[in-house]
Structure formats: structure tokens, C-alpha cells
């Protein structure tokens, strides 16, 4: 508990962002570094040989479309909040949540497709190539779950009329994080398409 609150207007100007926005951006950087490690590890490992080629399930394309749509609905919710159209804001958030859950379900289906295509995570028949796909998808899915929790919190605030044109911080952060997660997936999908 902070007994004497900071008053930001009496501070030296930083980057012009709220501290919570800066915290989020820094956390995003750390997630970027994690995936940079995975994907560069993938390339280094592939170039050393003993690397089994695998087929990417077609279902990943559908998942990618789902997450791209969810980014669009999130942006729509953000714009609605800025225009104080609270009904559309709530609709946008719910749609984004549903699309996010659909994406997760789709990733689960794709895991099944991978197994059906003899690409395994572990065990005697596994090769690092396939294991990497599971790790990339799994760690991304974990972060997507945190994004869904964040969305749910913002939705609750929206239902309590705490998100509107003069209170854009939480939805702004949620939008930024959600776009990041979507962009991260599209990067991973493209990466796997080009390098599988």
C-alpha cells in the first residue's frame, strides 16, 4: 500500500507513457527475448543436421485467421471505448475472448494433427524439430492464457463502467498485449512455414 501517492504531473517527463504501460512494454520485451532464443535455437539446431522434416497441419492456417480476427475485434472494442460506445465495447471484448478461446481450442486440435502426422513432442520417435514446434506453440498458448485473463479483467471493469474515453489505460494495455500475442503467433506461423 502506498500511503503517499505519486502525482505524475509533478514528475520529470518520461517517455510520455503511464508507468503501467512502460511495465507492460518491458515485459513484452522479455517475452520477445524468450521467443528469440527459441527460434534462433531452432535455426542453429537445424543447421547442424540430424533434423527431421515435418508437415505443418493445415489447421494452423485457420487458427492464424482466428487470432487475426480477434485482434481486429479488440481494436474495434478499443475504438468503441474511445468513442464512449459502451455497448459495442462490451460486444468487442466478448467477441475477442471467444475468438481467443477458439484459437486455443484450434491449437489443441493442431497438436492432434501433429501427432497424427507422426510428429511427436518426446519419446523415442521424437526429433528436436517436432519438439520445437510443440514448445513454440505451447509457450505461446501459455502467454495467450495470461492475455485471456487480462481481457476478462478488462471486461469486468467495462461491465462496471470503469472503461470509457477518459479511462483508457486498462483497455489500452490489454489491446497492446493482445496485438502483441497475435503478432507473435503470426511471426511463429510464418517462421514455421518458412523453416519446417
Amino acid at each position: 500500500m502506498n500511503p503517499q501517492p505519486e502525482i505524475l504531473s509533478e514528475k520529470e517527463v518520461g517517455l510520455g507513457w503511464h508507468p503501467k504501460r512502460v511495465l507492460l512494454i518491458l515485459l513484452i520485451f522479455s517475452i520477445v527475448m524468450m521467443f528469440a532464443a527459441f527460434t534462433s535455437g531452432y535455426i542453429v539446431r537445424r543447421d547442424e543436421g540430424n533434423w527431421r522434416e515435418f508437415d505443418l497441419p493445415a489447421s494452423l492456417l485457420i487458427n492464424s485467421i482466428l487470432i487475426a480476427l480477434s485482434s481486429a475485434s479488440m481494436q474495434w472494442a478499443y475504438f468503441s471505448a474511445r468513442k464512449d460506445e459502451l455497448g459495442r465495447l462490451k460486444t468487442g471484448l466478448v467477441v475477442t475472448l471467444v475468438l481467443g478461446l477458439a484459437f486455443l481450442a484450434g491449437q489443441y486440435v493442431s497438436f492432434g494433427d501433429l501427432v497424427a502426422g507422426n510428429t511427436y513432442f518426446g519419446g523415442a520417435d521424437a526429433n528436436p524439430s517436432g519438439s520445437f514446434v510443440y514448445v513454440l506453440m505451447g509457450v505461446h498458448a501459455f502467454h495467450l492464457v495470461t492475455g485471456l485473463v487480462f481481457l476478462a479483467v478488462v471486461l469486468r471493469r467495462a461491465l462496471n463502467y470503469q472503461v470509457h474515453s477518459r479511462a483508457m489505460l486498462s483497455i489500452g494495455n490489454a489491446t497492446l498485449y493482445w496485438h502483441f500475442l497475435g503478432g507473435l503467433w503470426l511471426y511463429l506461423y510464418l517462421f514455421l512455414l518458412l523453416n519446417h
Binding site: 500511503p3 501517492p5 514528475k11 503511464h18 518491458l26 535455437g41 533434423w51 519438439s131
Partner: protein, 631 residues
């Protein structure tokens, strides 16, 4: 608390209490988290559990980090004494340690070889991560960032508290691993696979290794929560006038250290995650073509060198995470006690930035012996040697700061000078080891051990000691004893050189590291006396640290009471009350007008002008361009 009488002509008027808290705040979401505690301002009857244990106050969290760090340092030092006993007296009996070590001492009174490996592993892990990362930057980033930039607290007190408690959890897991039957992790602090990836390989790669990985995962979470907070606080919560070019060098160092942590620890997390999958879920990221006890493993296609790349991508920035906070604090202590502005303030910032950038592109110099392409090796060698440039700039500036200074030999100052000495001695051998051709010769000898213990281990410890002696009055409102501080310094300073100088010679002569027993090799028996000497010096230096520990805890309760600004320092933390309450300044936060190194300014009546003194109050010492700012 009551002794808050500012020097009349030096401090701007401090407004009546509560001037800030009651300021009208627009009730938007931007501010509601800041506003919502407004009502319970004066919280004197806070429950002790919230005040001392689950505190969100950065000063309290800093003390928690420091005391946990001291605990770990004692343990890490004890472990090193144990393996120094083994190395110094390989034929001696350890029977007398049986009551403590139990089964780790064999019937014949010999230290178990597996346990020796565990000792070295845990010594490295504890010292690098738990003491010199969490204990050093956890303590001083937490303590000094809000106080020196002029903020009430960290950007997120809650995340800051979580940062400590994740560290605490990680400590509990690591500490418990010392007591399990198969012993703690024993694959070296660098946990190279395949040794660390195969639970059946040695006792120390079983449960102990699993606990090591879990503990480190928690540790990384703690570092990230702390690091993002430090950076945000520096970016967003500087007080009026505190531009980036007026920040004390401590803050610059903590700021860049935190950025290194944010960018490099996630990579270690990735590596640890893949290793966990290899160990427990049957993947083969790092495993291929392995026979164990005559059985072929099914793992195919992995590459242990990939792990080394991932590990050292953290591992090298990590040594700067360890040394940069010490550099920042030493700069501050040297300038204050030499009563001179730091020499080359901007060059100091530039060299910190240079070191930070370079730290990300030199990791493979730890891997010259992995059979890498010689061309790649020469690229990394070139980049590594460039680090000598910013390091040289820093050393030159420290020496130039001391040059013709009016030096006050406080205990903190001695440790700061000791830091510079150790950094030079250790840094010179870094130039040798940065050369691939020389490194391949020296890599598995004690030369490497001596190098990094001087330049990173001991120097960072000296920075830590300098920081504790210097900021102890701000932390606890009392002074540490100077006489004991001198004894502590000379024992430690002489001890460190007596331990690590001979190690260089032993290393050049080819004495191998990581060996439990060297008595089987005729070539090394000539080093028996040298090893004994190193061991004696190491144990005496370690025992000397208890002087510090006594001094520290005794002074918390019985030390001489501190004045508000005992070192006549210019930075903002000394304008706060002797023991700042929650919120740091009772009234308004002071605004900043000048850089933090106005010591012995020509024309000034006093030999220091704090940062919060406007130029309009110092007409006699203003420089021409400052005269305009005074109007």
C-alpha cells in the same frame, strides 16, 4: 526522525506536511490506483507482518534482499572453505566434519567426490545468482532508485514485493536441495548437458538438478519483476528537474543492469525450459547418441552446444549484471569521498552503455574450446577485446577522480579503491583469456578461476561492501563502526590477493580446475604447498567476513546515531529524513536543479552543493551559463 533541520542557505524550503497528498487529482483511471490509498495516510499502527514481512516499501524490500543475500554469502563462503580444505590437504582427514556432513564424509574420513562437485556447483550458483545478483542489485536498486531519483516508491510496490517473495521461494527450493539424499545439483553452475540432462548420470543430476532448475525458474521470475520495476521507476518517476543527464551514476548503472536482466534472463529461462523437457518429458533438444552404462539412449538429434549458446547468452550479460551496480556505487563513493566531481561524467555513462551493448555480442568467448569455427572465434575474440576500451575509460576516470582529491578514507572509500584495484588486476587477465589461442591453452586451468574471481567475484563483493558501509546510515539511521571496517577491509583486501594471485601462477603452470584430487598426477604434486597456502589464505579471508557481519548486525541496534547527511553528499537520498518513512519525504519531494557531483566547486562556501539547491542560492560559485539559469 525529528532531526530534519536542513541547512538554511542550502535547502529549498520544505513545505508543510501533506502538501502533495491533498493536491486535487482528476479521477480518471490513470490515477485511481494512485488515489485510492489517500485516506489511510498516517498508518502508524500497521501490523508488523505487513510492515516487516509482506512490505511493499522499497526500503524494507531492499533490507530483505540484503539480509537474505548475507545469509547466502555465508553459506557460499562456507562451501568454498570446505572444498579449499579438500584441495589444500588432499591427504588429510575430514573425520571431524562428520557431525555436519554426515554421509558425505566416507568411512576413511575422505570427502565424497560427488559431494565435492556439488560444493563447487552450489558455491558458483549461490555466489553468482543469489548473492551478487539478488543480494547486490536487489538491495541497492531497490533502496537507491526511488531515493535518488526522487520518487515515493517503486512504480509498482506490489510487483516489487512479489519480486522478493519469488526470490525467497527460489532460495527455499535451492536451500532444501542441500539436504536431499542424492545431494544438490553437481553439474557445475553452468549446468552443461548431457551431464545435467540425464537424471541417471550422477547422483547430483537427479532430484538436486530438478530442484536447481525449479529454483532458477523462480529466480528468473523474481529478476524480471524486479527489473521491469527498476526501469519503469527510472523512466517515469524522476522528480522535477531530474533529467537523465542529472542522474547519479548509481542510477545509470542500476538502470542499464536492469535492462540487461530483462533482455538476458528470459533466454536462460528458455534454455532451462528445454532442459526440463529433456530431463523429464523425453525430448532431445540437447541429447544425441549417448551410451550410459552400456545402454544406448533413444534420444536423437540434440546438440549440447546449443545449450551452451543459450546459457552464455545470459551468462555473459550476467557478469555485467553483477559488476555494473558495483561500478555505479563505486563511482558515487569515490566522488563523495575524494570531494571531487566524478571525472568524465558523460564518458562514464557512455562506457556503461558501451559495456551493456557489447555484453550481448561476446558470449561465445566462453566457448572457444567447443570446436567452433575459427573464423567465428576470431569475431568473438575481436568483440571481446573491444570491451577493454569502455573498461579502460572507467578505470581511467576513477583514477582521475582520485587524483589530487581531498580523500577521506572511510571504510566505504577503502572498499571502493579496492574495487578499482581488483578490477584492474582481474581485467588484465581478461585480455589474455579473451584471445582464443591463449584461452584454449588456459581454459581448463586455475588461471580462469583466478581471473573471474578477481574481476567479477571479488570486485563485485567490494562494491557491495562499499555500498553497505556508505548507505548503512540511510538504511538503519546508525553508523557502522569504522575501526572494524578497516580491519575488515585489510583482511579482505590482502586475503583476496593472497588467494587469487598464486592461483594465476598455478594456472599458467597447467594445474587443472574441476579436479577433486590431483595427488594421482606427479606433475601437479609440486603445487601442494601453493595449494595449502591458497587454502589458508581463503579460510582466513572468509573468517574475516564475520567481522563485517558482527559490525553490521551490532550497528543496526547499537551503532552511533547517524546525522542526516553524514558523508556530506550531494544526492537526493540525503535530503530525506534520517530514517525515511513510507513515502520517503514527509513533505514535497525536492526538485532537482544541478548534476549530482558539485563537490569542491570553486567559489562555493561549502565543499558540496546538493542537487536540490537552485542556482539562485549559489551566486558565488555559479559558472557563466549557470548564472543565466539562476535568474
Amino acid at each position: 526522525m525529528s532531526d530534519m533541520t536542513p541547512k538554511p542557505n542550502l535547502s529549498p524550503s520544505v513545505e508543510a506536511q501533506g502538501g502533495r497528498g491533498s493536491a486535487p487529482v482528476p479521477a480518471t483511471e490513470h490515477d485511481d490506483h494512485l488515489l485510492h490509498d489517500d485516506h489511510h495516510h498516517e498508518h502508524h499502527d500497521q501490523h508488523w507482518l505487513w510492515k516487516y514481512v509482506f512490505s511493499q516499501d522499497h526500503k524494507q524490500i531492499a533490507k530483505q534482499f540484503l539480509i537474505t543475500g548475507i545469509f547466502w554469502a555465508i553459506l557460499g563462503g562456507t562451501l568454498s572453505s570446505l572444498f579449499r580444505l579438500q584441495l589444500g590437504w588432499p591427504e588429510g582427514t575430514m573425520e571431524w566434519l562428520k557431525p555436519i556432513l554426515g554421509g558425505w564424509v566416507s568411512e576413511a574420513g575422505k570427502l565424497d567426490p560427488e559431494f565435492y562437485l556439488a560444493l563447487v556447483t552450489m558455491h558458483g550458483t549461490i555466489m553468482v545468482f543469489f548473492v551478487l545478483t539478488a543480494g547486490l542489485s536487489g538491495t541497492f536498486s531497490n533502496f537507491l532508485i526511488p531515493l535518488q531519483v526522487g520518487a515515493r516508491d517503486m512504480a509498482s510496490g506490489f510487483m516489487n514485493m512479489l519480486s522478493y517473495w519469488f526470490f525467497f521461494l527460489s532460495s527455499v527450493v535451492m536451500f532444501s536441495s542441500l539436504f536431499i539424499e542424492t545431494g544438490p545439483a553437481a553439474a557445475g553452475w553452468t549446468i552443461y548437458p548431457p551431464l545435467s540432462a540425464l537424471p541417471q548420470a550422477i547422483p547430483g543430476s537427479g532430484t538436486g538438478m530438478t530442484m536447481w532448475l525449479v529454483s532458477m525458474a523462480l529466480f528468473i521470475v523474481s529478476q524480471l519483476l524486479g527489473g521491469v520495476n527498476y526501469v519503469t521507476t527510472v523512466i517515469n518517476l524522476r522528480t522535477r528537474g531530474m533529467s537523465m543527464s542529472k542522474l547519479p551514476l548509481t542510477i545509470w548503472a542500476f538502470f542499464l543492469t536492469a535492462i540487461l536482466g530483462i533482455l538476458s534472463f528470459p533466454v536462460l529461462f528458455s534454455a532451462a525450459l528445454l532442459l526440463i523437457f529433456d530431463r523429464s518429458f523425453g525430448t532431445s533438444f540437447f541429447l544425441s547418441d549417448i551410451y550410459i552404462a552400456g545402454q544406448a539412449l533413444s534420444n536423437q538429434g540434440g546438440s549440447p552446444v546449443l545449450f551452451q549458446h543459450l546459457f552464455w547468452f545470459l551468462g555473459h550479460p550476467e557478469v555485467y549484471i553483477v559488476i555494473m551496480p558495483a561500478m555505479g556505487m563505486v563511482s558515487e563513493v569515490l566522488a563523495t569521498n575524494a570531494r571531487k566531481p566524478i571525472f568524465g561524467y558523460r564518458a562514464m555513462i557512455g562506457s556503461l552503455i558501451g559495456i551493456s551493448l557489447l555484453s550481448f555480442v561476446v558470449w561465445a568467448h566462453h566457448m572457444f574450446v567447443t570446436g567452433m569455427n575459427p573464423f567465428l572465434g576470431s569475431v568473438f575474440m575481436f568483440l571481446t577485446l573491444i570491451i577493454a576500451v569502455p573498461s579502460g575509460v572507467k578505470v581511467f576516470n576513477w583514477l582521475a577522480t582520485l587524483w589530487r582529491g581531498n580523500i577521506r578514507f572511510t571504510a566505504a572509500m577503502l572498499f571502493a579503491i579496492g574495487f578499482v584495484s581488483l578490477f584492474i588486476s582481474g581485467g588484465l587477465t581478461g585480455i589474455i583469456l579473451g584471445n582464443a589461442t591463449l584461452d584454449i591453452q588456459m581454459h581448463n586451468t586455475y588461471f580462469v578461476v583466478a581471473h573471474f574471481h578477481l574481476v567479477m567475484g571479488s570486485s563485485a563483493f567490494f562494491g557491495l561492501f562499499a555500498g553497505v558501509y556508505h548507505w548503512f546510515p540511510k538504511m538503519f539511521g546508525r553508523m557502522m563502526d569504522e575501526k572494524l571496517g578497516y580491519i575488515h577491509f585489510w583482511l579482505t583486501f590482502a586475503g583476496v590477493y593472497l588467494v587469487f594471485m598464486p592461483m594465476h601462477y598455478v594456472g599458467i603452470a597447467g594445474f587443472p580446475r574441476r579436479y577433486y584430487a590431483w595427488t594421482g598426477f606427479d606433475a601437479f604434486s609440486q603445487f601442494a604447498d601453493m595449494n595449502k597456502f591458497i587454502s589458508i589464505a581463503a579460510i582466513i579471508a572468509f573468517l574475516g567476513q564475520f567481522i563485517f557481519i558482527f559490525n553490521f548486525f551490532y550497528s543496526i541496534f547499537r551503532g552511533r546515531r547517524a546525522t542526516q547527511n553524514p558523508w556530506n553528499s550531494t544526492t537526493l537520498e540525503w535530503t530525506a529524513p534520517i530514517e525515511p518513512g513510507h513515502g520517503n519525504w514527509p513533505g514535497e519531494i525536492p526538485a532537482v536543479y544541478r548534476w549530482p557531483y558539485d563537490y569542491s566547486k570553486p567559489g562555493s562556501e561549502v565543499d558540496f552543493i546538493p542537487q536540490n539547491v537552485p542556482y539562485s542560492q549559489t551566486h558565488s560559485s555559479n559558472l557563466p551559463y549557470e548564472r543565466d539559469m539562476a535568474e
